[in-house]
């Protein structure tokens, strides 16, 4: 046979479609967000974003890297990116400010399954993003007590200064050929 055995559409079709999952492992949706709003804009799931943010905030207090003084912290995380903290037993130290949070959800058939993982994210002075290692994971970076791992699949963010720099040659018929 010289033709496709089957041809179905997921999103384009208005007809209901039953998809048999061909994937043994569910793909995960992962995102790094600098605000709850950014998270909602991406996931359309305000509840999860707020919970993930709150959990990350709590974790940040407990798991952020600790430094004995501000200079050491700023050397790793940049000027004015560190704050003095206390562990509640009158031990004070310095740690980076949480600059974002990481959210990971398992997906099934294109929709997130219930439950999520979240973690605080910190931006180091080189512009890279890190989060605390989950226990047992080998960290590549050790600042203070907590091992940090880089966030690789970073939906990196940058402030847009201009748009509409492409598309000037658009026509009603478009540009396919």
């Amino acid at each position: 046979m010289k033709r496709s055995k089957t041809a179905a559409l997921l999103l384009m079709s208005t007809a209901p479609l039953l998809l048999t999952a061909c994937d043994s492992e569910s793909p995960a949706r992962e995102g790094l967000y600098t605000s709850v709003e950014a998270c909602v804009a991406q996931t359309n799931d305000s509840n999860t974003c707020q919970q993930a943010f709150a959990k990350a905030k709590t974790d940040a207090a407990a798991n952020a890297p600790r430094f004995a003084n501000r200079e050491a912290c700023e050397a790793s995380y940049g000027k004015e990116q560190c704050a003095e903290r206390s562990d509640g037993a009158n031990h004070s130290f310095f740690g980076p400010l949480m600059t974002g949070f990481f959210l990971s959800q398992m997906m099934r058939n294109g929709s997130p399954m219930s439950g999520f993982n979240s973690a605080p994210a910190f931006r180091d002075s080189n512009g890279g993003w890190q989060r605390p290692a989950t226990s047992g994971a080998g960290g590549v970076y050790r600042g203070g007590a907590t091992a940090m791992v880089p966030i690789n699949a970073t939906p990196n963010r940058a402030v847009t200064v201009s748009r509409s720099g492409f598309g000037r040659f658009g026509s009603s018929r478009g540009f396919g050929s």
Binding site: M12, S162, R163, S171
Partner: protein, 393 residues
């Protein structure tokens, strides 16, 4: 190869609406036309179209290797200087590509002749890969086609498979972009995105006009996320001359189709291929155009013309045909004139799809003129079994 009249499916418009095929009629003129189909023999498909497509594809990729090593060739193809190293680098890194379409003059009675490669922004994809497939299945189910009829069309399967292969090599976030107001191009990227999703790749879509730039020269989406990989249904050569173009080489943005495709979507590839493979049965003689009068038996095409625009044709019998369009300036090539064959007054052009590196299907555009333009209708095809020992050629 025959043109066979066949009644339309009474409900095809409803089916088109159901699957989001919004551009079956363009400016009140029919674009999808199933009042007839082209019947091929399996042998004609395999020997005359499939095998030559794969061979020409391999020849074209070999030619990329030669071009990136030659300033002279880059010059002949009018590649702007600031982009040459970037293009060459993208080839050395073998940045992945997805698809392309070769256009052939073919009538079943001799070797298919390559008119051009559409290797950067090929369209008519959805109608070839999906709607044509559905037409065949429906007409088979209704007994309107000879039993056992088939189609050279595993395009969708090949697309999903190719996306699956690409998945690991695609930087995220991954977006599809096309011109905002083009129904046809938006439909094409919606379809490609559908195929990517079926391969398990998460991806978004945005109008190409909405792409932003950051202060440090990275491309952003509407959420200010830095775009990792962009599928752009928009000509590379146009991006080069737009205000954001200069940022491309250092932006870190991955493109699909990748920069090296600018060498193949360029009609300058045709004289280079002819030089390297003079006399190849599927190639037409071609040369770079030095200007001056166009002799009989030659066609002049701008390096970057799309949709049959700005073509000049001087037929053997002295007739001259000329199409208008936006590509008036700039270098051209000449190609030996090999007019399309008339089938009941219609001139079919065979688009042969290569996905990944595999020839996987065809779509036929039919015009009432010798130059296939954006007015050409899409007509489905079928592979019909050779009946009663009579060979359908």
């Amino acid at each position: 190869m025959r043109r066979v009249a066949l009644a339309e499916r009474h409900d095809w418009r409803a089916k088109a609406a159901e699957c989001g095929f919004g551009f079956h009629t363009i400016d009140d003129a029919p674009y999808w036309d199933e009042s007839a189909y082209y019947a091929f023999s399996l042998r004609g498909i395999e020997d005359d179209l499939e095998a030559p497509s794969e061979e020409l594809h391999a020849m074209a990729l070999d030619m990329v290797e030669r071009i990136v090593g030659s300033e002279q060739h880059m010059q002949q193809l009018a590649i702007p200087e600031p982009y040459r190293d970037w293009i060459a680098q993208s080839w050395r890194e073998r940045q992945p590509h997805l698809y392309g379409r070769m256009d052939f003059a073919y009538d079943g009675r001799g070797p298919a002749k390559l008119y051009e490669l559409n290797y950067d922004t090929p369209t008519s994809l959805f109608e070839a890969a999906f709607f044509q497939w559905q037409w065949l299945e429906d007409q088979l189910a209704r007994g309107q086609l000879p039993a056992g009829s088939d189609q050279f069309n595993s395009i969708q399967e090949s697309l999903v498979e190719a996306f699956g292969t690409l998945a690991r090599g695609i930087a995220r976030p991954f977006h599809f972009a096309a011109v905002r107001d083009s129904t046809e191009d938006q439909g094409t990227v919606a379809y490609l995105r559908d195929c990517a999703l079926q391969a398990g790749i998460e991806c978004g879509v945005l109008p190409i006009e909405d792409i932003g730039i950051s202060a440090d020269g990275r491309f952003t989406d509407l959420d200010d996320r830095v775009i990792g990989c962009l599928f752009k249904l928009y000509p590379l050569e146009d991006m080069f001359r737009e205000s954001f173009g200069a940022y491309l080489p250092r932006s870190g943005l991955q493109l699909i189709e990748p920069p090296w495709k600018a060498l193949l979507s360029n009609k300058g590839i045709l004289p280079l291929l002819w030089d390297a493979h003079r006399g190849h049965p599927n190639l037409l003689p071609a040369e770079f155009d030095g200007g001056g009068e166009l002799p009989r038996g030659w066609v002049r095409k701008p390096l970057h013309s799309r949709e049959g625009a700005n073509i000049a044709m001087h037929l053997d019998d002295g007739r001259e045909l000329r199409t208008d369009g936006p590509y008036r300036d700039g270098p051209c090539i000449r190609q030996a004139c090999h007019p399309l064959t008339s089938f009941d007054g219609h001139y079919p052009l065979v688009g042969s799809w290569v996905v990944g590196d595999r020839a996987c299907g065809i779509g036929i555009r039919e015009d009432s003129s010798l130059v296939t333009q954006d007015s050409a209708r899409f007509v489905p095809h079928a592979i019909v079994e050779e009946a009663r020992g009579v060979l359908i050629a």
